[in-house]
Symmetry: C2
Subunit: 286 residues, 2 copies
């Protein structure tokens, strides 16, 4: 497995791969890898010739009061994990190489970034779309892999890729969960023991919401109220948002009769976690 630290070297490597008409799969990450990331790498391994994993904690997508400095980092462990699933290249550029002096260019996706995480993290998605556009430019992958846990991010990146005609196939892979249902996240390591015990309520509340919808409930506000009630029952939890939206474009739903995304974000202590569930029409009423 190759470790590439410079943008220029990564671009040259990638150009060479393309010249030989081999396909590239990119898994962009912020490191501190877990099973969720590994599932993306394994998919890339199956579906493309050369698998590139980027590791870059992107300052641009953190707000001034967010956890950029505290975001967990462990490069040795990440490297070993990437190697274990057959990754070809780990690309870990420096901040300076990604955002040199005179950096001025930003990519934005309007409207889709107004609600949910975009509302509570202003500027977050501008940072995400910009850094992803850069990785797409450097690596020029055929396919790129993202996790469904960041549901809004996946929708925003798909739209950006389509809108800017990037010609990259965006693959969104299912959420990987701990045994008790907690969605895998690099931030889980920052939970105290008590917070860790409370955190599975996110998934549990989503499962109950799904049961309501499958049972015929069509009123989003009733579903939201139920989820809030369940999460608020946990001492360490503070809700950021609970949303019931159209699964394709994140628009609000008056009535649940399309493919629906139910998404939650909550703080457990100082750690903000997110989770979601998609209920498709064809899986309802069964």
């Amino acid at each position: 497995m190759k470790i590439i630290k410079s943008v220029r070297e990564m671009a040259a490597f990638s150009r060479d791969v393309r010249r030989r008409n081999r396909t590239i799969g990119l898994v962009p990450t912020m490191g501190y890898l877990h099973e969720g990331h590994l599932s993306l790498m394994k998919a890339a391994r199956r579906q493309t010739d050369v698998v590139v994993v980027s590791i870059f904690v992107n300052p641009l997508q953190f707000g001034p009061h967010e956890d950029f400095r505290q975001y967990p980092r462990d490069f040795r462990r990440d490297r070993a994990m990437a190697q274990s699933v057959g990754v070809d290249v780990v690309f870990c550029p420096s901040q300076k190489d990604m955002y040199p002096d005179g950096y001025r260019t930003f990519v934005t996706v309007d409207k889709l970034t107004d609600g949910l995480c975009g509302a509570s993290r202003p500027g977050h998605f501008k940072g995400v779309t910009t850094v992803v556009a850069k990785f797409f430019g450097i690596v020029k992958p055929d396919k790129a892999y993202f996790g469904q846990k960041d549901a809004q991010q996946a929708i925003v990146i798909k739209r950006m890729t389509e809108n800017l005609n990037m010609g990259i196939d965006i693959r969104v892979m299912p959420i990987i969960r701990e045994k008790d249902g907690l969605a895998m996240s690099s931030r889980n390591v920052r939970l105290s023991a008590a917070e860790r015990r409370d955190a599975p309520i996110l998934y549990q509340s989503l499962v109950k919401a799904r049961r309501m919808v499958k049972g015929g409930e069509t009123d989003p506000s009733k579903v939201i109220r139920r989820i809030c009630f369940l999460i608020e029952g946990k001492r360490s939890a503070r809700i950021d948002y609970v949303a019931v939206v159209d699964a394709r474009d994140l628009s609000p739903l008056r009535s649940i009769d399309e493919a629906v995304l139910i998404a939650v974000a909550a703080y457990f202590g100082k750690t903000r976690l997110i989770d979601n569930i998609v209920i498709r029409e064809d899986k309802r009423h069964n």
Copy 2:
């Protein structure tokens, strides 16, 4: 010469060219071609294997009170001119294909777009960078050609391409002028006879400004005053801006001792024309 109207077909054609490891040169235009455009196509013809000229009057880069509807169009003439210099593909997508329903993504370059044309045409450069990013995505050229007449545009696009790591070589070609010095522009056709007689003052005033600088003048305000005086002497002219800025990053200059860009914009009747001249350090004091 091939005429391609659909984004999908253009992307497929381009993919096929790249697979055969042949290079692509792109000349993005809004049509109504003139000698300036042809010089870009000829450069592309010399420097790349497959020359693609896009013709698209981009609504996104026109303000609500600007001349989008009145912008001159003549596809037959454009096609013949492109063919005469050996262009391989004319790509002329529809608005609907470029900006389908649900279009949401924009590329912006901060600061460099605040002054000059950016100040008098709010949103203009956001439209330019977005459409150029799209053409770069669709065509994926090795080299792309722009005219020095749009000096700010060239600087902005270079920065975008670098910042987003697009890996495209941006070539900026010299301004092509009529015999009396008027810079070639698709908009020149809209000048009345009287306006057409007045319009060469733009270039004449720039030539005089260059003479001042070469003669040792280092005070930007004196140079600007001289240019304004000359342009205001023409009855049909109304100055939009006269700027003396750093030729690399468009920052204002207190004193002319670096490579300097002198740029002017003025209305002749309802038609807004621009022109500029770059004076490099090594060409001064001689």
